[in-house]
């Protein structure tokens, strides 16, 4: 590929006008575990596979879905350690906003600031882009919102989105199943069915993670037993 001469340095454009490092970062995301999000009329649900490298890993200690503020949560696809750095920075920015303006940070603001951090790492010397895409789910005065942020720092608001290994199948499935007047419970069922589509092995409360936020504006991660209940309803 003619581009490969330009693929080593982040801050150099290739002749076709692309930053090849960002393309590579998106590939890293594309080989990560599937995660998805669905915006319902009265809330948002985000979910991900939790495939651990061995049965010896203590799965209760791993949590992929993280809370950023009481009313905003996030899930990632790609490199876990990179997502931890972003979660830490986002939490700090949300808290600084709250200290200055004494109001909870609006979802769009937090997404914008997180995206700005990711963009910084595509235009600085000696650093590499983050190898994660984030799905940010929140509920504020403007209602339920779902945003996807990419390694380049671009972000979009989605009604439903998926990322990671099984992205094309998952998105097709979501396109068919999504309705605008879906409620939060239906959205959780749809999320589980979408994950089930590409799941290798037996799906259970211990190898997927689901986070929801409803009209009460409190983000929380479901316990494995709650996920089991939803799984039984889906059966």
């Amino acid at each position: 590929m003619g581009d490969s001469q330009y693929s080593f340095s982040l801050t150099t454009f290739s002749p076709s006008g692309k930053l090849v490092q960002i393309e590579h970062a998106l590939t890293a995301v594309g080989s990560g575990q599937t995660s998805l999000g669905i915006k319902a009329s009265n809330g948002v649900v985000i979910a991900t596979e939790k495939k651990l490298p061995s049965i010896l890993v203590d799965e209760a200690s791993v949590q992929k879905i993280q809370i950023l503020t009481p009313n905003i949560g996030v899930v990632y696809s790609g490199m876990g350690p990179d997502s931890r750095v972003l979660v830490r920075k986002s939490r700090k920015q949300a808290e600084q906003y709250h200290r200055l303006y004494k109001e909870p940070i609006p979802v769009t603001q937090l997404v914008r600031e997180t995206a700005a951090v990711m963009q910084e790492f595509t235009q600085s010397g000696g650093v590499r882009p983050f190898g994660v895409s984030l799905l940010v789910a929140g509920y504020d005065d403007k209602g339920p919102q779902l945003y996807q942020v990419d390694p380049s720092g671009s972000y979009f608001s989605w009604k439903a989105s998926a990322m990671g290994k099984n992205v094309s199948n998952a998105k097709t499935f979501l396109e068919k199943r999504y309705t605008d007047d879906m409620e939060l419970d239906d959205a959780v069922h749809t999320a589980i069915l979408t994950l089930k589509e590409g799941f290798e092995g037996q799906i259970s409360g211990k190898n997927i993670e689901i986070g929801i936020i409803g009209a009460d504006k409190k983000f929380r991660v479901l316990t494995p037993s709650e996920i089991e209940d939803y799984l039984q309803e889906v059966e």
Binding site: I67, L68, R88, R91, E95, H98, R99
Partner: protein, 273 residues
């Protein structure tokens, strides 16, 4: 050294750039504005189920009462509250900052904040500023290790006590505690004792006054009793209202609401790109 073109971001902390200018102004006869001090009586005690904090509500600026009903019990964490005496801005800013730091800490650890964490953050901040941050605090809360009560002095030293008082009314309040405190008080006994101590400060100290605020902290539960007692109501209000001498000019004010003028242009051209 030549002037650097790049603007370095401030490293934080105080900037002493204006000190020379201020000295010059004072020498030329400028009277510096005084800051709002809280005078204050603040107390805390440990009872059988947790901690009770109490405070008066008067804020003074020299001999003037600046705020008759200010809030001196500050939120630090859902299970930790802090009473503040000294300069009002200092106590509010320092408790706000530590509250923010503890929120981030809670997200990172996934656990309830401990009182000793708040204590360490507060005392190291105050020590760094060598007593210039004039905040004397009574910190109390209930965490996984039990109920705790601490006092923090502006220079950064701390005490851990079963009952404590701070502020200009601390001697009046401590007199009440020393005679009536005992271990194993019930909630109602504790609240009554704290209210009595604050009332003693209100009536016997000029820097304290107005109402009594109380905060009861127990395991997993908090009760913020704002204006629990108001022993200083405004007693005499003239029913006749106020009358002015005939010489006063009474201006008749007519308020005309502004109406939005909306022009509708028929068949206008679309804006050109």
């Amino acid at each position: 050294m030549s002037k650097v073109a790049i603007d370095m971001p401030p490293k934080g902390g105080f900037s002493f750039d204006l000190c020379k200018r201020n000295d010059m102004l004072v020498k030329n006869g400028l009277k510096m504005p005084s800051f709002l001090k809280t005078g204050t009586t603040i107390v805390g005690l440990i009872f059988q189920d947790g901690v009770i904090l109490g405070a008066d509500t008067r804020a003074t600026e020299g001999p003037i009462v600046a705020d008759k009903n200010c809030e001196k019990i500050h939120y630090i964490a859902p299970n930790i509250y802090c009473c503040g005496a000294g300069t009002a801005a200092d106590t509010e800013a320092v408790t706000d900052m530590i509250s923010s730091q503890l929120t981030l800490h809670r997200y990172h650890t996934g656990r309830e904040s401990r009182v000793v964490t708040a204590l360490s953050l507060l005392k190291s901040h105050l020590f760094n500023y060598q007593g210039h941050v004039s905040a004397a605090l009574v910190l109390g809360g209930v965490d996984i290790t039990g109920p705790h009560l601490h006092t923090i002095y502006p220079h950064g030293s701390t005490d851990t006590l079963p009952y404590a008082t701070m502020g200009s009314g601390s001697l009046a309040a401590m007199a009440i505690f020393e005679s009536k405190y005992r271990e194993g008080l019930t909630r109602d006994e504790g609240v009554e004792l704290v209210a009595e101590a604050i009332r003693s400060g209100i009536f016997n100290d000029l820097g304290s006054g107005s109402n009594v605020d109380i905060c009861v902290l127990t395991k997993g539960h908090k009760e913020y009793l704002r204006n629990h007692e108001t022993p200083n109501p405004r007693t005499y209000v003239s029913e006749k209202g106020y009358s002015f001498s005939k010489k006063t000019e009474i201006l008749l004010t007519k308020i005309t609401p502004l109406v939005e003028k909306i022009e509708i242009i028929e068949g206008g051209d679309a804006m050109e790109e």
